[in-house]
Symmetry: C2
Subunit: 406 residues, 2 copies
Amino acid sequence: MEFLTAVTPGEALGIIKSFPLPARRSVRVRLDEALGRVVAQEVVASEDIPSFARSLVDGFAVRVKDVYGAKETTPALLVARGEVKVGEETTLSIGPGETVYVATGAMLPQGTDGVIMQEQTRQTTHDIEVTKGVHQGENICFQGEDIRKGSTVLTPGKRLSAFDIGVLAALGIDEVVVYALPEVALISSGDEIVPVDVLPPPGKVRDINRHTISNLLNPAGCSVCFIGIARDTLDDVSAKLQEAKGLDLIILSGGSSKGQSDFVTAAVERLGGKILFHGINVRPGKPTIFGSLWGKPVFGLPGHPVSCSLILLRFVLPIVNALRGEAETRERVVRGRLGTNVPSSYGIEEYVRVRLTSAEEGSMVAPLYAKSSVISMLAKADGYITVPEGREGLEPGEEVEVHTFV
Amino acid sequence: MEFLTAVTPGEALGIIKSFPLPARRSVRVRLDEALGRVVAQEVVASEDIPSFARSLVDGFAVRVKDVYGAKETTPALLVARGEVKVGEETTLSIGPGETVYVATGAMLPQGTDGVIMQEQTRQTTHDIEVTKGVHQGENICFQGEDIRKGSTVLTPGKRLSAFDIGVLAALGIDEVVVYALPEVALISSGDEIVPVDVLPPPGKVRDINRHTISNLLNPAGCSVCFIGIARDTLDDVSAKLQEAKGLDLIILSGGSSKGQSDFVTAAVERLGGKILFHGINVRPGKPTIFGSLWGKPVFGLPGHPVSCSLILLRFVLPIVNALRGEAETRERVVRGRLGTNVPSSYGIEEYVRVRLTSAEEGSMVAPLYAKSSVISMLAKADGYITVPEGREGLEPGEEVEVHTFV
């Protein structure tokens, strides 16, 4: 098998990350559909949050200087001037020596610069005895203290969390402009592949990759469109690619044999595309293809389910993230210590499935070995580690980064 | 404010985790809707995967003893007896001194016990010269090597990953029995609360908690049903609780003032329920209520958005996980080192929002301070750390566990 344009993993990522992507589209979504979407348009606060000074406790609104030095034995005496209930507007104000009862969340009377918790007061017939002083601003959330009118609360590229959505809710923003989900065309290829609901005749197997790829890409923020299973002919692979035209990213899986690979590269070139590399010096997943077709990125992933998934995680997700428009993606990485050695080959970057276990001294990492076609072992793994190209293996006790699956 | 039944965080978790939950319902879902669902019924393989021995490479199927000791200089000579294409059934078999060309993924002829990669062979006019020996089983995926017929592939309590779904696809299982999503009733309460699309009159604020809670619970695997905003009257709180009857878990948010809390506890008791605790020695979020109503767990969460969210993550998610039926839930925890000290109070478990930054020596953790009503600071945090009850604070340089939000 020849890989005329085989590249190192670093070169592959360089080519992938420098692929000139078309401008992203943006769409307006409702707040209850916004979780995980990526902000496309700056959001500026059009008001102060809170819009009025509020009490953070049940207690008495005071002028701080009136209760300065108050103690159990020498309480400050204040005249009660009423109460503010939560949710109501108040026109009360506090003069020297006066106080007003305020519930948690209630609007504060004019002149308040501190609130004494109820537990630190005593009610007498005529007065409120305050048994402790307060700092300036204590137990108050001031107008604009949470969000200042005119401030930028979200910038393009921010992935919306539950709390970002809380910020939008606070501001009364019930729609937000986000990037459209990248539309990924998914093609399974190979004469040996049948759909899951078909009993495979001898020599054939069910389509696993369609399901693993979709279920890795959906939570990564893609809209996946399954085109179908391409037979091993130039015409059928070309026809399936044609159906994928217009989508943002094309992924073929399968075609691990030389003949099958050839159909994929030939079909991309016949349709006017260009192969950018064919083969990466990694294990598993060497026969990976990357190219450009109609200005869109196209991947040919190996057919073995394990190779296919690991290559997807390592080489396809970076372009998916670029398409999604998220400014900063945080990989799910856990550090742990190897319990055993991990043999590998110099010049090859190797991906080893591992289990993580907790120990007194932190996480322990145990490699799981199986052939690259064995999906059941992948399902038992917690993640994978990388043995760098420049190493012949890893030693017991070494600290490694585990890229976790879930 | 009195917390007659205030408990320690450990006691609170004990009461929550020992709450007698009703039996879980199960439902059958299609494979493309199964991601993240929890298996309710054991899945046993009804066939071997693969169902036939397959080649893992493009090359020549051999009898291992025929190529023993083969080298560049002393190749083994084999007679080519045809080819097996990928996806086709073969009736070929290999006799002594014979070989058959097999593509990657192709069915192996009878008698094969090793496959030589094509690169390690030379084709002559009459023969195939093999320039390297192979081990028994090399480059073969045997029948049943991935999944053995009769073996258990999934047990109840397993959360379905993309790879589990790949395993089901391999077996031709296109539907799976999972636990029903827990149905959570969500009630916002408080006279000060208006929906997001309403301009709040003076003294009122928009409903933030509805949105943060839903967006924390949905990805945690719940179906959230928003009942509405309850006014601060016993009748209205009771009426909203009545509407929540039949769902698996009831969450009220709001009611941080003494008066509001009283309505919640009174309404639960009026409907025949029981308050199990009112108040936890934590900060923020002390005025948390937990009880039992119609045999279902009911939470009264504090109204301040930060307190509400942190209490949800710390005290509500354990019961959500129990309702979901997942056997083993892995918390998202990152270890890091504190850059500064974190003051706290003895006897109170405190939750401090933090930012994580990467440094040479690992993750650094920086506390973010803001009042518990300030949602914008929560949106800036990467997670929270816990200062234990028995500590008066944490020191710079201490290693801490960050519970990450995303």
